[in-house]
Symmetry: D2
Subunit: 505 residues, 4 copies
């Protein structure tokens, strides 16, 4: 029988339970449910709402359940709907209604579920943050190592200008650092305490929300009770962070898939991150990159799902809102798995430069440099220089030549009114020298790439510090909750002393 | 060791396997994988590609696996990546490489996976079709029963005109019949046989695709090998069917949630489809309807996910495409569970009419009827009549009166130049009589609602016949495959005879 | 002043009008609004609801407006909210309230707007259908022409097996034919007549819905009035058709972008479908393909938008539903523009085969063929043959050799226990001969590609006939409406005769 | 002829231009393009890349174009593709190639377009921020005014507990403040300067990116050239902000629509924010709220569109990326229009309390209070109290009574073992007194609502300051650019002095 069944005349249809129960989804929040329940209990005792005797018995039982949960010995029963009623029912079963039935004063499942899920999402974001730091580090390490390795850069997927592998790798590091920043911003939204909001309107019990907030390591209370129990923008912001990060990773994935395909790219995925075909014996398929490309869609779909779930739902908890968790679990999982898989893949990527120079010549990748030369050295308007070089390229291409045919080129230029010494022509259009000349801030010259890497490492350090601080406070708060509960349990602390201890920083 | 590992120098990273293996997802297709393998085997023997002796041993083993799978005794091993390599590895393990290693001629995982998933989706769509027929029937049964029960109809969520509960219920039946039609259309797209397409380009083995097509109960072969192995439009069409159907159900859900909330609506959800609150003892929450409303988003998100997965993937199988299955499983599950839950909820809905009449009067729901009267009986232009009635409503409302104040109304009309006998006024604005006058085809009058129900039942019958035909052919084909395999196994049939038997209809 | 303002005491806020008016969106439906109004008028006269004298004046004015609209002389006034009130207001302005104010009997904006938009979507789908037929034809024409042009086929974006350009082109034709089928299915959903449903519940005027249905060229009436005015599944189905088709085109686009990028692919986009760079003089960017790839997202977003718009909206018209039009216009536009642009791009694609053979050799693209040979000719189990060939590939690759090094290969095979005559080895692994051996139904051999093209052309013909039939009936119905209106206007027909003429087929 | 056409042999197909040109979309960025061009010019002169003589002529022309643009006299020509080539072509046309053709040194359309669109999005976010501040203020003002107005609160859309209108209004203010926070976070991502990144890899011209950054009022340069030109996460973050905010507004909209529908809610939308029906003279439809509910979907679809556009696009500019602008324009427009419309709607909402008390009694909305009383005063376990009250509710309901039947209630309690003085029972269950007892932090008691409003106003002030700072710096930078250009033009400043002035803060 459900704990809430006293008013009902017809029993629940089996379809109602199977359609609405969430134990499979809630499983991940069991540890958080127990932590929050223990914090709520200590607050009730500290405020004198629950007597210390009964409070100690409940504390002992909750600590026992925490141990069981850690050892995987606490299975949730689907017949009890969700994690909240599972814990409360077990308390009542163990301690009797007169004790176990007193924990639910001044709270409701509506504030419990957002407390638990905020704690869970906080953990998950911190874990993703750590993984992202690892991936950015790996990208920067490889970038530094390959700062001078020439390759062909593309725009519109067509040969554009010579760049270095270090430039390419650090570009992704630079982009992912903003994902890390967004993740930290989202943590600020997530890390607020809704506990104490009751069903929708607060409570008439004389609770003290500062105490539970402190014990759960939140930055602050989320004050407005209706807002705290009804809104899910922290889920939306988290899902947006995942989707945006995965969108970036899908682009890295595409590059790896496409470049693996080409004999001339110089990029090779390690065997460890490829698989074979069931019938084509020659194949090495970059499945990790392919899957990462596809799995971005999982994060996109999850975001769309949560937006649609919350659309047009009136304030005050509705069951609709329980449907925020399946997609957010999915988004968090796919993001952390993908970042993890990529880190190893990047660390083992193999780079060759041997075909790159040829590819640069063949594709006239230094045409812009020639135009720049005509502009800066010969004082021609850029548009005139551009036009001239365009016609030269067309001429050479139609004769199956490249800029390597320097004499022909210089002759053509002369015939078109431009005098250019052969050595200056060669210097202009040589891919390696062209790369070295891109020294503008953030450009692809090896020295500038190294300077950019230093700047990005500095940014990474600051982001890491921000995350570490949240993580440390969360861990301390959990330890404090268990310690205070243990002291209280042993009667080393009265309710009044509890209150003081909780607020002591 | 993976079956395809001969060419690789470095072993697969653990992350590659865990990130790419699909056994948990593929589990649902084990039965279909075995059926398709058996069909492929019979074809190989019928075409003389595989000798009968070895063929019989493989057939025996596949039939044994089918039994195991049916009894839940065939667990997939994640180390073997997917359902295909699990089955093939087991064959080789049991029968040795010289026998088990010969099944994979003329096929590839690329055509296998689309064969299996088309078979699975066919089953799932048929199951949803049956459930949908059940829900439409329940709606029509209740509609017939409530064809004369007055209630207030809304537009813009504001009181509009009096209608009947039967009219409302049959509107949803009418809409859902189009979902059933779309489901049948999607089945036509799904029910095509890709087996025999090889990895991407067909095969040089002299296979006969007509044989596997017939044994698997498909409508026809999907001829083009590259199209057959690369496209996923059948998944997109299926996901669209689910999303569109769930969008309709979310609207029914919203109506049930909102009307349950109102003291005057006359609609009550049975206790069996509600739950209580953890702290508010008076509550009856229509959770099934709330969840159905939210779970439509699961189907929307799944559709968006598959669209994004397939976007910009080059033809020729890519691993991206394996990510079509998690979302389609989710979409199919949520659609079938929701339709199932709704059928019981509709069958037990309670209807009261007692407050409806009051609500109609209070909201001037028959104002249009009065304007129609002035137009048709008194030959006034509709716009003039509309304007007059609008002013009358404003007058009555500002004096806290309704059309029930017939004398006042008639006096006001007279003062504004309209002579109208009291009894005709009363007849015009009485909600029950107004409903009875809506006799245009498809209108809300009880007799017209009953006629519409007859027409909808006819449509339902035709849709049902279409589905039943596909289901029957699928079942017959499975039986035929098992029977022919058994006969072949017992040497009752040669390869040549097999071919003839397979094509015999 | 709005036509509906008689009951209101405060004027509309300017923000209300600017936020809710839809004239800019409705503009496209002006011709359909006028057609539907004329049909409604003829029905009112045919049923004796409106007297012939006034009816003739309205008919004349509507015919005049149709001419003005065709000449772009009918501008919608935003202050009049929408296309319906624009037309009705103009009628009243021209003919006075006593005549112009009588058209709106037995109809409502709620059934008008779905009538107009179904007519518009029908036209748009027919136009897209015609464009799609053109694109499929272009693909098949080029496929036939290039049925024997060798190129390298890919799976996982990695070299897989040799194929022909004709095989690749016809794969897209094959896929797009299913989009054409879905488009025809959607037309069946769209082509139903909601006119006569009133605001939500039908009407008490003695209308005859068969007459308007016939005049507007619909397949049948959409009977249930609440369903007809409230549901938008025809928009969802249309948007799904667009999104699914665009998803396919994004894949073709990706292939063109990626292959244009490679020196060895043999594919070149005509200059006419590329643009240059503002600073890189050598560039030829395949912008049409890039944009097509991106614009698929427009159709995806539109579908998601309409799903979200309709989610959880109660039955009975709500203003939410007017938001179906901006996204569906967008989806229809982007789909037709993209198909149009692709048709020219495909017709002018340039194909070269010179590098393809090299690429096939270099990538061991015929390894599967060698394994098949060992299986079929030498009776080895496929798995053993696969393993052997995999090791051979690894051996050759590590020595920078290919299958072209036939003597080395044959020696290695011999050393590994496989005797194989040199000429048979060469025949096995030669890309051109390998392609010719893929003769299974739907395979890549030139002769089979030609057979597949014949089958696809047959399918195209059947789809085309289906579309043409709908188009023809729509055109005839419009002509009939105008002709009957003109005859009626000239008093050549009485109301009773009108009714008979309308139903005469 | 396109400026880039020198290399092309075939002219562009008309479809290529119409499919790819963006002048209609770019129009909004004309002012930003001119500002950025002027900043780039001053930098070129300050760095000695362009001579002062020619620089002054270009500066004069750009200032002239700015004036023209402000007066609407600068129309973009679609034949010139985009805003960048429109401006450059006009420069060349006016000043000749020798002068106008020199501006494009050291920049590319790839860094120009992100510079322009970041400037535009910065403006748009600032405008939305200001509107959001206005809406939050309006909500808080009305909340303060209605802090004591009783109404019925809901969970699961069913009667839950008595609350006040002030509590409800301030809940939305509390939620929207987090949208404002996210908007400020997004501004940090947007407000970085990509100009100077060249096509993808920087430039060999000796530019100084600090100068253009300062002149454009950006917070900092976005250093990495490939990241700066290729990523669109600032668009995704902006779209997420819009979608999340619109999701919240859709919930407010739903409440207004649903509550407007009910005779007992006490909420009435002003006539100014409603419209009428074309056939039902009694109607007042809350169209603004309905549309706001629907238009949230526009922001959702736009977000999904941009995610899909950017998915799997390789780094280095691709034309795909130009498709970020149509959806982001749409998302920004719909968000600002909706916030604007809501502000007036909230300011004019009418509240009545007369039916609220009845509704609270009828729905047993104070049942939780009675359970709390039995728990706190009578020391019963909460679960026992809950159970008892649930049974009492069932008893009263089955006799058509409420808690107002205090004597019956007290007698029933006594018969069930609970002694409770009549006056204490009445005090427990009286809705007004129950509301006053919800004094926990963030609860619904009027005094606590007022305290919460104070806290929210404080938060609003801090958010406003953050936005104002960005706005002020942007305005100053624009003024500085124009002033320096004017001084430079008049030869009051040399290039070297320019550089010093630009960096002076």
């Amino acid at each position: 029988m459900a704990l809430w069944s006293s008013r009902f005349s017809t029993p629940m249809a089996p379809a109602t339970l199977s359609y609405s129960e969430t134990t499979d989804i809630d499983r991940r929040m069991l540890a958080h449910e127990l932590w929050a329940s223990l914090a709520h209990l200590l607050m009730l005792c500290a405020c004198g709402i629950l007597d210390e005797g009964r409070g100690r018995e409940i504390a002992a039982e909750l600590l026992r359940m925490m141990d069981q949960a850690e050892h995987g010995d606490f299975k949730l029963d689907p017949a009890l709907e969700d994690v909240h009623l599972n814990v409360e029912s077990r308390l009542i079963e163990r301690l009797g209604l007169d004790i176990g039935g007193r924990l639910h004063m001044g709270r409701s499942r509506n504030d419990q579920v957002v407390t638990d899920s905020r704690l869970y999402v906080r953990d998950a974001l911190l874990a993703i943050g750590r993984l992202l730091i690892g991936l950015v580090s790996a990208l920067l390490d490889r970038a530094e190592e390959q700062a001078g390795t020439l390759t062909l850069g593309y725009t519109h997927s067509q040969a554009a200008q010579p760049i270095t592998f270090g430039f390419w790798l650090s570009a992704h590091a630079s982009a992912l650092l903003r994902d890390l920043k967004r993740l930290s911003d989202a943590l600020e939204t997530v890390n607020l305490c809704p506990l104490g909001s009751g069903a929708l309107a607060g409570t008439s019990f004389p609770i003290d929300r500062r105490l539970t907030c402190a014990l759960l390591g939140f930055d602050d209370i989320l004050r407005h009770a209706l807002d705290a129990t009804s809104t899910r923008d922290y889920m939306l912001e988290t899902a947006s962070v995942c989707a945006t990060c995965m969108a970036q990773l899908s682009r890295l994935a595409e590059e790896i898939v496409v470049w693996s395909s080409s004999a001339t790219s110089g990029l090779k995925v390690s065997d460890a991150y490829t698989t074979g075909s069931s019938i084509m014996p020659q194949k090495r398929n970059p499945v990790v990159a392919e899957l990462a490309r596809a799995k971005s869609a999982t994060a996109f779909g999850a975001l769309m799902e949560i937006l649609s779930v919350t659309k047009s739902v009136t304030m005050g908890y509705s069951s609709d809102l329980q449907q925020d968790k399946p997609p957010i679990w999915r988004a968090l999982d796919v993001t952390s798995e993908t970042i993890g898989a990529f880190t190893g893949l990047i660390a083992t990527l193999e780079f060759e430069t041997k075909n790159a120079e040829d590819a640069c010549w063949r594709s006239f990748a230094t045409a812009t440099e020639l135009a720049n030369y005509l502009t800066s050295t010969q004082q021609r308007p850029f548009r005139e220089a551009y036009d001239l070089v365009g016609r030269l390229v067309r001429h050479l291409e139609s004769h199956a030549m490249t800029f390597r045919d320097a004499n022909v080129s210089v002759a053509w230029l002369a015939a078109n009114g431009v005098k250019m010494p052969l050595e200056e022509f060669v210097s202009s259009v040589d891919p390696r020298r062209a790369v070295e000349r891109q020294t503008s801030t953030g450009g692809t010259s090896p020295e500038e790439v190294r300077a950019t890497i230093v700047a990005l490492r500095d940014q990474l350090g600051r982001n890491e510090a921000r995350l570490t601080d949240v993580a440390r406070r969360s861990e301390l708060a959990l330890a404090k909750t268990r310690n205070l509960a243990t002291s209280f349990l042993k009667s080393e602390l009265s309710g009044v002393e509890l209150s003081r201890e909780i607020l002591a920083s």
